[in-house]
Symmetry: C2
Subunit: 338 residues, 2 copies
DNA sequence: CTGAAAGCGCTTACAG
DNA sequence: CTGAAAGCGCTTACAG
């Protein structure tokens, strides 16, 4: 029986193949694979049997052509080798998957211009949403995406883009807490360790921190390096501790730098933490909990961010900015006196 | 002029829209966007102008229906919060992108059964290849993928699956080196720290290590925990150092465990490394280079793996197993006497 | 509930 | 070089 033969090697079975084998119309097979369509139990069974035999799988690419829902989600990432980025991606992809969404990932690298090209690519896949975890796409490009019905969701990114969903941290509250923590620890000379090129979220941390510190009549010493890496943190600590007036409290803009600070302070300068020096980080990466660091920090609400992303993806894009503000809770460990 | 209006909001321009505006056929539009097709400079210019005006972007989903090349690549991952996994994914997505491939990522989580379902999903997207970084899909499923023309590429995974490209490490050479390193360091009592549930690549490391050690008339003490995490490494060290006959050399099956071992040995047991105790890891994750660890280890050839993946993706799948063996070089740092 | 038909947005022989 | 037409694999009103 010729009709019983599966399609030739190198090709997947199509709905037509299944229809032919099952002796029904192609509409019937389509219906048995779409939720809530009306098929009799009988034909459904016939279709399922034939599909099984031919190893049939609905072609989502083709389905996406007519159906809106099954369009993919694009995620713009970079620096996956950094713990914060990797952890965030882990949570987001997992959540998206539970919501039956498929993730295309675009690794934009360190080049800020790359974000623009990446967002443009996104259009090629008719993504229903693009989630920006890295880089800041230019406003005109974002507008174009929105016009085409794609939502653009910025996580911990620029605040000033219109037509965009923003998911970000309430840095004001977090930094108020941070300053209180240093005050309670009795720190007098406080340094802020950050990066010269600041993303909006780094900038927000810096500005609120400095402002709340000023309200206590303290002006922090500022150290800004080339990156937010572990090595930059080491360098920061070397330069700060070698100075005439070394700090007794250091706020690191992220945990990665804090890890570098800690290792250098302890091993190169023999400082005891938190007795001689208090260090505070931000992100709560996995390493912060390692006993070699035991870093007091603020926890990114990874799971809540992921959840907010999924919700934003589900909703139609609107012309209004929507802003979701999440809290970063302090995580008390051993690098701050309490 | 009605024809000059862009398509309504919420819809992207199609090739027909562009054709209409440019006053050419839709074939002409298609041709100006496919490499090596024959279009006159004149119509090409007209099309380009119209496309620009309408913000036209080729719909890759639709293109994939007729064209083979632009099909996506699926990557099965898990444990992105672990440095090795994240670093590997970073390299692979970057390399794939340079090769103009688009990556769909499927986060299979910790459930081994999930790999099967994930591979099945892969079929829905008519991926031209799926790259398995996590989990081990069952052989019949793999066979099905291959029959449909999809190549399956296993990175550091099971060795026994047919019809599959294997990219993996020459563990025999690496472990021969590992044993030599311990011998040269003068270690007498050697422990192996690993996980109870072994993936094929963990198993290979274990078996070669034990075999080469036996050739030196040494039988290592075996410690196997529930996972390959930092915390498991800590637990290993606690149990080993509290014993009657503590080791003077420890080979950790991966760097993450080694980090836990180091912190516990140094801080809880006040051991000096490498004087009192030598520790060797595997993977060369970023943390291994941190001064708090300074771990001697073997470097996964991340870049070469990524390159091999890209090459395998480009080639048509064959019925034969192809096996690419890569070298993991020792990286000398401070946890082994030299 | 079911099938024939039109449509989604593209590509690619086939004539001209 | 160019356009009309058929095809890729699906979905979804539209009649019945």
């Amino acid at each position: 029986m010729k009709t019983k033969l599966p399609p030739p090697n190198g090709t997947a079975a199509s709905a037509s193949d299944v229809a032919r084998l099952a002796g029904v119309s192609r509409s019937a097979v389509s219906r048995t694979f779409t939720n809530g369509a009306s098929v009799s139990a009988d034909t459904r069974a016939k279709v399922l049997r034939a599909a099984e035999e031919l190893h049939y799988h609905v072609n989502f690419l083709a389905r996406g052509l007519s159906k809106q829902e099954s369009r993919p989600v694009c995620i713009l990432v970079s620096n996956l080798h950094k713990p914060y980025h990797a952890q965030l991606l882990d949570h987001i992809t997992t959540a998206l998957q539970k919501a039956q969404r498929i993730s295309i990932i675009i690794n934009v690298g360190d080049d800020p211009a790359a974000a623009s090209g990446a967002l443009e690519q996104t259009l090629n896949y008719r993504a229903s949403a693009t989630i920006v975890l890295s880089g800041s796409p230019p406003a005109p490009m974002v507008r174009r995406c929105v016009e085409v019905g794609q939502s653009v969701i910025l996580v911990n990114r620029a605040d000033d883009l219109p037509d965009v969903r923003h998911i970000s941290i309430d840095y004001e509250t977090a930094m108020r807490n941070a300053v209180q923590m240093f005050m309670r620890a009795g720190c007098q000379k406080i340094a802020l360790v950050s990066r010269a090129v600041r993303t909006p979220s780094l900038l927000a941390r810096e500005e609120f921190f400095i402002a709340f510190l000023r309200a206590q009549n303290i002006t922090p010493q500022l150290w800004r390096g080339a990156s937010t890496s572990y090595e930059a943190g080491q360098q920061a600590m070397r330069e700060l501790l070698v100075g005439l007036d070394p700090p007794d409290g250091v706020f690191c803009i992220n945990d990665l730098m804090a890890c570098g600070c800690i290792d250098t302070a302890r091993h190169e300068f023999k400082r005891r933490l938190p007795e001689d020096l208090c260090i505070l980080g931000f992100d709560d990466i996995a390493q912060a909990a390692w006993s070699g660091y035991d870093l007091t920090t603020f926890a990114q609400p990874y799971a809540e961010i992921a959840q907010a992303v999924v919700q934003s993806v589900a909703v139609q894009p609107s012309a209004h900015n929507a802003k979701i503000l999440l809290y970063a809770r302090p995580v008390w460990r051993g690098t701050m006196r309490n």
